[in-house]
């Protein structure tokens, strides 16, 4: 007699709990669980492609959590950007649970990238794309409020998606101040349930940047992360664009606004930036000196 293993039973139990969507989407697996619900992998039968379906855990489709999920779908639908997951569909299941359908993102979470051996230059490249996506959201009045490596997906070809906009603040006054977010990534004003603005995301991005740096980062990069994480919002970068500009300056080996370098540091930076022409010039000067000394010409 063959017995069914506990693992197989668990799988069957999970499959039995999968939501029943309409004929268009067929659930094929679970992508992950979040604070509000579960994200399933599904097949879109009409367009013959895989999609992700985020389904609320509770059945009250008129409750606050359903409203939040629907609002998240609306925000994502409005933010048409390569770094923000596009929404395809939204609705309410027959059992009353709200859901929305979005692009299925394949890749690794940024915290997994951090565990790997990706060079700092690659990590900063990903970070720059995150800044671009968040800056785009800010330009449309949306503050994410829960930026952290777990909410950032990095694809195989360098593409980046900022995920989980469930606690995003859409506009200045549509959300009552409340403690939402993740400890360690929240600025003091957010942890204190005071009103927040785009600078709250700047703070979180500073924490993310600090995690992306090498163990012994250059003082300029460390200063950028520190300025972004300043407890006083007025002392931070006032916009993500300002933060992005400083990160870009660092990547281009230009002086950054957050750090005043010494003469030695400036010399080293300039040397690294123009290493090849400097070395070639030195080679010429050395050979010219040899000619002068040896041949007298």
């Amino acid at each position: 007699m063959n017995w069914i293993s506990d693992r197989a039973i668990d799988r069957l139990r999970d499959a039995a709990a999968w939501p029943e969507l309409d004929d268009r989407y067929t659930i094929t697996g679970v992508a992950g669980h979040g604070g509000m619900g579960t994200v399933y992998v599904a097949r879109d039968q009409v367009l013959d492609r895989e999609v992700a379906v985020k389904v609320l855990d509770v059945t009250d489709h008129q409750g606050s959590r359903a409203a939040r999920l629907t609002r998240e779908a609306h925000i994502l639908a409005r933010l048409d950007h390569p770094g923000i997951v596009p929404v395809h569909d939204a609705g309410v299941l027959p059992d009353g649970r709200a859901f929305y359908v979005m692009k299925l993102v394949r890749g690794r979470r940024l915290d997994d990238v951090l565990v790997g051996a990706a060079p700092q230059a690659v990590r900063l490249d990903l970070f720059a794309r995150v800044l671009d996506a968040v800056g785009f959201a800010h330009a449309h009045g949306v503050v994410h409020r829960d930026l952290k490596p777990e909410n950032i997906m990095a694809g195989a070809f360098g593409e980046v998606f900022v995920m989980d906009w469930g606690v995003a603040q859409d506009g200045a006054a549509d959300v009552e101040p409340a403690v939402v977010g993740t400890p360690g990534f929240m600025p003091p004003e957010q942890a204190g349930a005071r009103e927040v603005d785009a600078r709250a995301d700047v703070f979180a991005l500073g924490v993310v940047l600090a995690q992306l740096m090498d163990n012994e980062p250059s003082p300029a990069l460390a200063a950028i992360a520190a300025k972004a994480q300043h407890a006083d919002p007025a002392a931070r970068y006032q916009t993500v664009e300002q933060l992005a500009a400083d990160v870009a300056r660092f990547r281009n080996q230009d002086p950054v606004s957050a750090y005043r370098e010494s003469v030695l540091e400036r010399s080293l930076r300039i040397y690294r930036r123009y290493e090849l022409p400097i070395l070639l010039l030195v080679a010429y000067v050395v050979m010219r000196f040899v000619l002068l000394v040896a041949v007298g010409v």
């Binding site: 070639l280 050979m287 010219r288 002068l292 010409v297």
Partner: protein, 115 residues
């Protein structure tokens, strides 16, 4: 940046210093230094174009170095016609050709994407 462009820029860059080195090897030419530097820069650019093309075609260090020294020396020799200075111009010109040749072979250029 392709190799010939890189080599032209490098040849011109080193040509500036090659011209300025006349201040040491022939200090009496100080009144003519601007013309010397301009001519030397132009010579470096021409040499760079030839050396860069050779480096791009052959990818050979030996051939490119040989062509670099020869072109550098030959162009410098043309400059010396009617001038009392021969080796003062030809030898540094050869050095410029040598360095441009070496750098052109080593220079890998931008990464290219494939469709």
């Amino acid at each position: 940046m392709k190799k010939p462009v890189f080599a032209m820029l490098l040849g011109g860059f080193l040509g500036i210093f090659d011209g300025l080195s006349a201040l040491i090897s022939a200090p009496q030419e100080l009144p003519n230094i601007v013309g010397i530097v301009i001519g030397s820069t132009f010579k470096g650019v021409i040499a760079g174009a030839i050396i860069g093309l050779v480096a791009q075609k052959t990818q050979s260090m030996a051939i490119t170095l040989a062509v670099g020294v020869t072109v550098g020396a030959f162009l410098a020799y043309l400059v010396t016609i009617g001038s009392p200075y021969l080796w003062e111009i030809v030898l540094p010109g050869s050095v410029v050709g040598l360095i441009v040749g070496f750098a052109s072979v080593k220079y890998r250029g931008p990464a290219t994407s494939r469709a």
